[in-house]
Each structure stands twice: as structure tokens, then as C-alpha cells.
């Protein structure tokens, strides 16, 4: 074995330029794979995080039937037992109650249909990006009763500025008319233009009073550790909440609430994997080419070795090891460069500018390119490249071991 390994090692450097090129191709492929997989992972996580922090968290708990009707008809009644159960479920990064209602917002001659979001000022920052997205004024707070925070587009449409009064009109849960004046305390800028056009935030207490809704809320938005943990967390929550009798609740993950986003990510992943397959195939042919060339070049040498009594299995191992060495060197260098590169980009996200930025904002995402190195990403890349090397070296190695000494010597 030691002898075979030495043979292989020497063979690698027999034609340094060719080997170096093969190694370079492998390094290039490994770096690209790491870079793109990490970019996609970072991008997707960012997209999901942005989306869930504007919507209902990774997991939403609501009254049974709420998702279909989206009306006050279906609700969750807040009580300490329910809150305790959610709070103590492992994997809950944060949660906040929300009351979602429809209303007409009117100021002077302008009227717009708005989505009223009643939020708990203390809990909301745990799950949503809305509080940090207030660009003027401040977020709703218990110190400002009847304060309202408007989406920037909505404020523009109503001609409302900080300190102005806006009338909300709707139908209360009791089916009476609900109307109240709110004072604009803040303007919120969200990446989702459509949402910005109809978002009106008030405190949960004000919303419950406005809709005559008592202790009820529309949903609890729950944040998981990350997007991947959502299904398991949803299951744990469902089990815990089912143990509390009294309320019929439904628990949904972000994938169920935003199937469009889940599909977009799936599609994006599919496109990326296709690209990676092409890359890997190119690397495979690079290795195949190098080894096959060196085998054909050395027909005489291999023939002499066979004539001297080296067994075909040994020849096979020598050639095979050669290609594995090539792949391993490329892999090691590629990993070092790739991981360093990804880690650097992970620490330094790239802000998008101009039209690319506008496009991402239109879809509700932050205009930022981020990378995220997940542990399975380099491991998966390493295994793939090694697997490719193992497969690509098979043919030259078999061919080398099958040579007959007579043929080899005749071509002298």
C-alpha cells in the first residue's frame, strides 16, 4: 500500500502542469458550489425572515376557520393558560398577539380601506420588524392611547402627517358601527408596497375596544429559531394547545400561510441545483481527462510494471489513488478558499442598488445579498466532489489494469 501510494503521488507530479490545471478546476468548482449554496441559503433565510416578520411569524395560531374567513368571526381568546403554554413551548423565539380587522380610514375628503393591525407594543418587537421600520414619529405605545401608525403610502394617500387625526370606521364584532378618531403618532416604511398602502397599526387594547372584541385576538404570531424549525414547532404547539380544552385552534406554518414564497424558494433551489450539476459534471470530465491521458501516456511504463510481476489489482489501485489524490488536493484547497470567502461575505452582506433594489423591495424583501454557511453545505460539497472523483477514475483505472504486457512492449 505504501508503495502504491508513493507511485500515485509521483504520478500526480509527473505532469505538474496538467495536474495543477485539474486541481485548479476542482478548486474552482468547490469554491463556486460553496459560494452559491451559501448565497442561496442566506437569501432564502433572509426572504423567509423578512416575510414572516411582516406577516404572522414562522407559525401562526388562530381560531379554527380563521384562515378561510379572515374575519372577526374566528378568534383566539387570550388567557393566562394559553399564553403560558405558548411561552413555555421549547423552540419559541418570541410571540405576539394580533387583532386583524378591516376599516375605512378617512381624513378630510380622502377615504381608504385599511387593514387594522392591533398589536401589543411590548410583545410586537419580539416577532415583527414593524417597530424598527418606523421612519417618522414612533411605534404605538401604552403612553399614547388612540395613537395610530400608518404605512407611508397610506399616509400619503390620506394626506395624513404626524399629529393629524384620522377617523376609522368599521363594523364591530357586536355588529354595531365602530368609529373612533386616532392620532397619527408614526409612519412605517415596509418593503411590501401593497401592505404599505393599507397598513394601519394601533395598540391591541385600542383595537379590542374599537371592535368590541373583549379579550379576543385574531392570531398569535410565533417566531421559531429558523424557518426549518417551523414544522416541528407547529406540531409541538398543536400538541400543547390541544391539551388545553375550551378553544378550537388551528396552527399553521409559514409554508402553509405563504405557499407562494415556499414555491418560489423551491423553484430557486431547483435552478441552482441544475447549475451545480453542470459544474460537477465539468469537474468529473476534467479528472477523467487527466487520468485517462496519463494512463494512455504510460502504456509502456505500466506494461513494464506488469511484466515485472506487479498484479493488475495493484495497478488499478495506483491509478485510482492518483485520481483520489488529485480530487483531495483540489477539495482541500477549494474548501479553504470557499469557506473563507463565504465567511467573509457572511460578515459583509452586499447591499443592492438601483433597479435590482427596487425589484426586491417590490416583492417585499430587503435589498441585501446575504450568505449563510450551513454545516451540511461544505460536507455535502466535499462528498459530492469525492463521489465524482471516485466515479470518474473508474474507467482509466480499469483500463490501466487490463493492459497486456505483450501489447505494451510491442509498442516500444
Amino acid at each position: 500500500m505504501g508503495l502504491e501510494l508513493r507511485f500515485s503521488w509521483r504520478n500526480v507530479w509527473r505532469n505538474p502542469r496538467r495536474s495543477a490545471l485539474t486541481i485548479a478546476a476542482t478548486v474552482f468548482a468547490v469554491v463556486l458550489v460553496l459560494f452559491f449554496v451559501a448565497m442561496a441559503a442566506g437569501q432564502h433565510e433572509q426572504m423567509i425572515e423578512d416575510a414572516v416578520r411582516l406577516a404572522s411569524g414562522h407559525v401562526a395560531i388562530s381560531g379554527a376557520g380563521y384562515r378561510e374567513s379572515q374575519t372577526l368571526e374566528h378568534y383566539v381568546t387570550l388567557d393566562p393558560r394559553l399564553e403560558g403554554a405558548v411561552e413555555s413551548t421549547p423552540g419559541v423565539r418570541g410571540w405576539a398577539p394580533r387583532l386583524v380587522g378591516f376599516a375605512l380610514a378617512s381624513k378630510d375628503g380622502a377615504t381608504r380601506g385599511v387593514a387594522v393591525l392591533g398589536v401589543d407594543p411590548a410583545r410586537e418587537p419580539q416577532v415583527s420588524m414593524l417597530p424598527e421600520r418606523v421612519t417618522r414619529g414612533q411605534f404605538v405605545s401604552p403612553e399614547l392611547p388612540h395613537g395610530i401608525v400608518l404605512g407611508a403610502e397610506l399616509a400619503r394617500a390620506l394626506g395624513a402627517r404626524l399629529g393629524d387625526q384620522v377617523l376609522l370606521y368599521s363594523v364591530a364584532y357586536s355588529l354595531e358601527g365602530a368609529y373612533d378618531l386616532f392620532r397619527v403618532v408614526g409612519i412605517v416604511d415596509v418593503p411590501d408596497t401593497e401592505l404599505e398602502r393599507r397598513l394601519a397599526l394601533v395598540s391591541l387594547a385600542d383595537a379590542q375596544a374599537f371592535y368590541v372584541y373583549g379579550d379576543r385576538v385574531s392570531e398569535l404570531a410565533v417566531l421559531a429559531d429558523d424557518a426549518g424549525a417551523a414544522p416541528a414547532l407547529a406540531h409541538r404547539l398543536l400538541v400543547r394547545l390541544s391539551a388545553l380544552d375550551g378553544q378550537r385552534l388551528e396552527v399553521r406554518t409559514w409554508e402553509q400561510l405563504m405557499p407562494g414564497l415556499a414555491q418560489l424558494i423551491l423553484l430557486d433551489d431547483a435552478g441552482m441545483y441544475l447549475l451545480l450539476v453542470i459544474l460537477v459534471v465539468v469537474v468529473a470530465f476534467g479528472i477523467l481527462n487527466t487520468i485517462l491521458m496519463s494512463v494512455l501516456e504510460r502504456r509502456r511504463e505500466l506494461g513494464v510494471l506488469l511484466a515485472l510481476g506487479l498484479r493488475p489489482a495493484s495497478i488499478f489501485r495506483i491509478v485510482y489513488l492518483e485520481s483520489l489524490l488529485l480530487a483531495a488536493i483540489g477539495l482541500a484547497i477549494g474548501m479553504a478558499i470557499g469557506i473563507a470567502l463565504v465567511l467573509w461575505f457572511q460578515a459583509h452582506p452586499v447591499p443592492l442598488e438601483g433597479r435590482a433594489a427596487q425589484a426586491t423591495e417590490l416583492f417585499g424583501f430587503q435589498p441585501l445579498l446575504v450568505w449563510k454557511l450551513k454545516p451540511w453545505n461544505p460536507i455535502g460539497s466535499a462528498l459530492t466532489i469525492l463521489g465524482v472523483a471516485v466515479a470518474a477514475a473508474l474507467y482509466p483505472a480499469i483500463r490501466a489494469s487490463r493492459g497486456r504486457p505483450v501489447d505494451a512492449l510491442r509498442s516500444l
Binding site: 378617512s106 380601506g113 363594523v171 358601527g177 368609529y179
Partner: protein, 270 residues
């Protein structure tokens, strides 16, 4: 957008109509020749509305979420020729004084408790009116069943549901392209003798029946057979129903032009 919406509505209607139309058609008798569907729709509308009218009514809302039915009393003035109407809520106390004024296509609402007037955009014509199963469009009549729709006579129903054994024409109302209409289509049952509407089925743009309105307690008023009770039931909301009972109806009363003004809208003594 409009074209796309129409195309979608058309394909769905084509599919939905096959199923939906087959059902009543099986029991319908063919209509006698020479009946003009447009005229029929016009006469049905004339039973309910005149060039001008005044009415006082009680609206009872039943809903699973209410411990007791909610009753809203209101008065309504309509100047059909001038496309103007005015509604004032009389009770319950919390809503009393709320007013609605429609001038042409514009709708305003006055909220006395905060002394504000809200302009309601046309996009909200399908919003519930005062928490009931009626929508804004039913009350303020921004669309007209005779003018904003094309009509097709489907046949005669010898014993329609809610018709108390009296035969009724069955007419299909298809919205005109440019009309400010909120429904995909309407199928109406119209009494063959008095032209009183018996029943209206409202379809959404996807061709599904979304609500049914029934008319009964028909009595003769000024030569019209006027239904004094209108009941609307949304089909996708279990246990919801709204009934309007009309106590007083006057056709073609003298109406002062000052009724239909924003000044009148905001004139309410607490």
C-alpha cells in the same frame, strides 16, 4: 385588468352556467311568446321604486355572534330620476343619526358621534351595510337592475320557492360592461301577474351563488303590489340573516331638494 377579469368570469360562467342553469331549467315551463325581458325587469324595478319614494323600516340582523337580534330603524328618501338618495339611522342609540347621502356615483356617510363625514369609495360597495347582510349597494342603489344589466327570460317557474303558489318569470340579469355593478350575475323570479320580485339569487364573478334575497308580505300600495318584507341570507355564513320590514312606504311624495345635501347629512340633533 378588466379584460382579464371578464375573460375569467366568462370561462367560469360558461362552466358554472352549465351546472347552475340546468337545475331550474328542468322544472321551468317555456315562457309565452312576446314577453320582453327588458320590460319585465323594468316593471319589477318599478314595483319597488318610483321616480321618488320615502320609506321607514326596521332592519333585523340575526347572527350566531349576537345574543339577541340587532334591530336598526331607518328612514330612506330616494330621488331616482336625480340619482340621489338619503338614509338616516334612527336607532339603536349608538348608531342613531348616522346618515348616508348618495349623489350620482358618490356616497358619503356621516358619523354624528365624531361629527365627521366619510366618502365611501365605489370599491367598497360590497361592504356590509350597518353590520347587516345587505351591502352598501343594496341601500344606496348605485346600480339599477333594469339599466345596468342585460336581461334574458329563462322561462316560467309554476311554483317558485317563496312565491306562495303564484307562478313567476325567471329572468337572468347579466351586468353590462361599463356598469358600476358588483355582482357577476343575478337570477330573478318575478310574479307573472303583479311583477313583484319574489326572489333574487346573486352570483359572484366566479359563478357561485353567494346570497339569496326573498320578498314577501306583498300588499297593494298606490296600485303597486309592494313586498313589505325583504329577507337576505348569505349562503356561505351559517346562521346569518337580515330582514328589512317596511312600516311606511310612500311613492312619489314631494321631496325637497335640500334633503340631498351634505348640509342635511350633517344636521342631526343628539
Amino acid at each position: 385588468v378588466k379584460g382579464g377579469r371578464r375573460l375569467r368570469a366568462l370561462t367560469l360562467l360558461a362552466a358554472g352556467a352549465l351546472v347552475a342553469r340546468m337545475a331550474p331549467a328542468a322544472e321551468l315551463a317555456p315562457a309565452p311568446a312576446g314577453i320582453d325581458a327588458d320590460l319585465l325587469a323594468r316593471r319589477a324595478e318599478d314595483v319597488l321604486r318610483s321616480d321618488s319614494s320615502f320609506l321607514e323600516a326596521a332592519m333585523t340582523i340575526a347572527s350566531p355572534r349576537l345574543p339577541a337580534d340587532r334591530v336598526v330603524r331607518f328612514r330612506s328618501w330616494e330621488d331616482r330620476a336625480g340619482k340621489r338618495s338619503f338614509i338616516r339611522i334612527l336607532s339603536p342609540p349608538k348608531d342613531a343619526g348616522t346618515g348616508f347621502l348618495k349623489l350620482q356615483q358618490n356616497l358619503w356617510m356621516y358619523v354624528p358621534r365624531v361629527e365627521r363625514t366619510i366618502r365611501i369609495p365605489p370599491s367598497l360597495m360590497l361592504q356590509p351595510w350597518m353590520g347587516s347582510d345587505f351591502v352598501n349597494d343594496d341601500l344606496v342603489r348605485s346600480s339599477s337592475e333594469s339599466e345596468d344589466y342585460t336581461h334574458r327570460l329563462l322561462g316560467v317557474d309554476p311554483d317558485p320557492d317563496g312565491g306562495e303558489g303564484r307562478p313567476a318569470y325567471v329572468v337572468e340579469y347579466q351586468p353590462r360592461e361599463e356598469a358600476p355593478v358588483v355582482w357577476g350575475r343575478i337570477v330573478g323570479w318575478i310574479d307573472t301577474e303583479h311583477y313583484t320580485p319574489v326572489r333574487l339569487e346573486y352570483y359572484d364573478e366566479d359563478g357561485a351563488v353567494v346570497r339569496v334575497m326573498r320578498f314577501d308580505r306583498t300588499r297593494e300600495v298606490d296600485g303597486r303590489w309592494f313586498p313589505h318584507r325583504w329577507i337576505v341570507r348569505p349562503l356561505h355564513q351559517e346562521g346569518h340573516q337580515t330582514t328589512i320590514e317596511i312600516d311606511t312606504i310612500r311613492f312619489d311624495p314631494p321631496l325637497d331638494a335640500s334633503i340631498f345635501t351634505t348640509r342635511n347629512l350633517q344636521r342631526w340633533e343628539h
